[in-house]
Amino acid sequence: MSGTAVRVRRVPRKGAGPGLVAWLAGIVFFLPVAWMALTSFHSEKDAATNPPSFGAALTLDGYREFFGAGGGAGPWPSLINSTVASVASTLLVLLLALPAAYALSIRRVRKWTDVLFFFLSTKMLPAVAGLLPIYLFAKNAGLLDNIWLLVVLYTSMNLPIAVWMMQSFLAEVPVAVIEAARVDGARLPTVLARVIAPMALPGIAATALICFIFSWNELLFARVLTGVVAETAPVFLTGFITSQGLFLAKVCAASLVISLPVLAAGFAAQDKLVQGLSLGAVK
């Protein structure tokens, strides 16, 4: 360690060593993803060689195979299902969490900390703890293999985090500004739309992003509760578990395509992700 271990923001000091280590770490962590991307463009023959072939010819066969997988529509229905489940549940989460966060931060209800505790405590309840009754209910109600059941479950999965995040984002809106608008004669809807919404928008976007990611990634509920019609993309991917690497390029293409929405959203909104993941504890 040189004498630069602590950086004072206003007086930036440069050290080549730590930067180099960071680059090395970045490359090591990214290597599997890069290798997955490269393999997805190889032919199956080149993908399955030892030692690995770095310079093999590139081809789109893996992607062609993936989109033609399972005959007929291939992975498209599962991608559409995942989109519906993730987008719809994210919207529903926002619809429920926004008023709740409003009541917990701006118009603080009595014992608001207890209420927040309750929301967060439901998150400590593992998914498996309610899986069986939900399965039995779905079976009896004829809701098995129904994408809207997943929408409801994903909403319950993300709602506590969303309420928590959003209340801390809304609490950031200065009360003085709200009061000033009220004094000027603005009614509640106007205050909400003109004052609170613009200031809380980045926080709302961060919340939505995280809800989307967790819904898109979810496997256990989707695996147990869907089948042919409502299969989601992660469930579709589980079809490759036993392929034993026979179709390596196809597996890589599939993994990459299905991760793409999350990768793109995450890369585009890195800062919001940081803010959201720390549950608004970071100001």
Binding site: G26, F29, S156, V175, G266
Partner: protein, 313 residues
């Protein structure tokens, strides 16, 4: 940064004059926006758990629904004495603790590196975030087939170049194989939270300490680390919540074989394949009890977060 502008209580009018009916009405008007979310959560999460609790006291195999009968705590006795199930409890603890601690430590180191200025810092952060953004099943498939495969996996491929051994990772060290893939996925998450903590540090404090002649290590030990405490706790808490429940990696990489079945996988298997509803429920309740242990720790963290929030005004 704007913490000082937030008043602790925004609606004092509701809190005074409670006995009058109009005030009571207003209190309900205040509560109303909260109710949809609250009712939704109770119906979708609490009711099923109560049902799980009830089912856990029954001997109930889904294939023989007519033979269903009340057995008291037999299922729990069975779960706790069954060697396989006991193993899965142990596996869950081992998996969670290992993954959380290792990824927290790596995340801390990476965050400290990324908190410094160097060429291409933004790009390095982007590279580091990638593992967290790969869909968990896809990540597990990647590790299982593309990295661990003994014949043409990348790991053995790289070892081949340096003339190293060619181990069969998954059958040789199955739990370690699952843990490594999870550490790879969760380290970026820890790094992001800790990095956010580092960047919320008061630079003047550090500056003052340095002027007073504090060494790098002293600054880290006495300023940075105490400041990071709640971010480390938050990372550990959220990481534990998700890793205790991990299903994707265990299901995909080993299908619960070779002693890697954790409780969520065992619960899944006992009702999805063995159709043992009662046993699965009892195991599920045990997962909850395990989570309560974590939750006790978690609530402490949460209250410390609250204290700071309430004191902000």
């Amino acid at each position: 940064m704007t913490a000082t502008t937030t008043a602790p209580v925004a609606a004092p009018s509701v809190r005074t004059g409670r006995p009058r009916p109009s005030a009571c009405l207003r209190a309900w008007a205040t509560r109303a926006p909260l109710l949809p979310a609250l009712i939704f959560m109770i119906v979708v999460t609490q009711l099923p758990f109560v049902a799980t609790l009830v089912i856990s006291f029954f001997d109930w195999n889904a294939l023989y629904p007519d033979a269903r009968r009340f057995t008291g705590v037999d299922n729990y006795r069975h779960v706790l004495t069954d060697a396989d199930l006991r193993d899965s409890v142990w596996t869950t603890i081992l998996l969670t603790v290992t993954v959380v601690l290792v990824s927290l430590l790596l995340g801390l180191l990476l965050a400290l590196l990324l908190d410094r200025r160097f060429r291409g810092r933004g790009l390095v952060r982007t590279l580091l975030i990638a593992p967290f953004l790969v869909v968990p099943v896809a990540a597990a498939l990647l590790w299982k087939h593309v990295l661990y495969n003994p014949e043409y996996g990348l790991l053995n491929g790289l070892l081949h170049y340096v003339g190293g051994p060619q181990p069969d990772w998954i059958s040789g060290t199955p739990l370690l194989a699952v843990e490594a893939s999870l550490v790879w996925q969760w380290t970026p998450f820890m790094m992001l939270i800790i990095l956010a903590g580092l960047q919320s540090r008061d630079p003047q404090q550090v500056e003052a300490a340095r002027v007073d002649g504090a060494s790098d290590w002293q600054v880290f030990r006495h300023l940075t680390l105490p400041h990071l405490r709640r971010y480390l706790e938050l990372g550990a808490l959220l990481g534990s919540i998700y890793i205790v429940q991990n299903f994707d990696a265990v299901f995909t990489i080993t299908s619960g074989g070779l002693g890697t079945a954790n409780l969520p996988y065992t619960v899944y298997q006992s009702f999805y394949q063995a159709h043992e509803n009662g046993l699965a429920s009892a195991a599920g309740v045990l997962v909850v009890i395990g989570s309560i242990v974590i939750a006790t720790f978690a609530l402490r963290v949460v209250s410390s977060l609250f204290r700071e929030e309430v004191n902000r005004g």
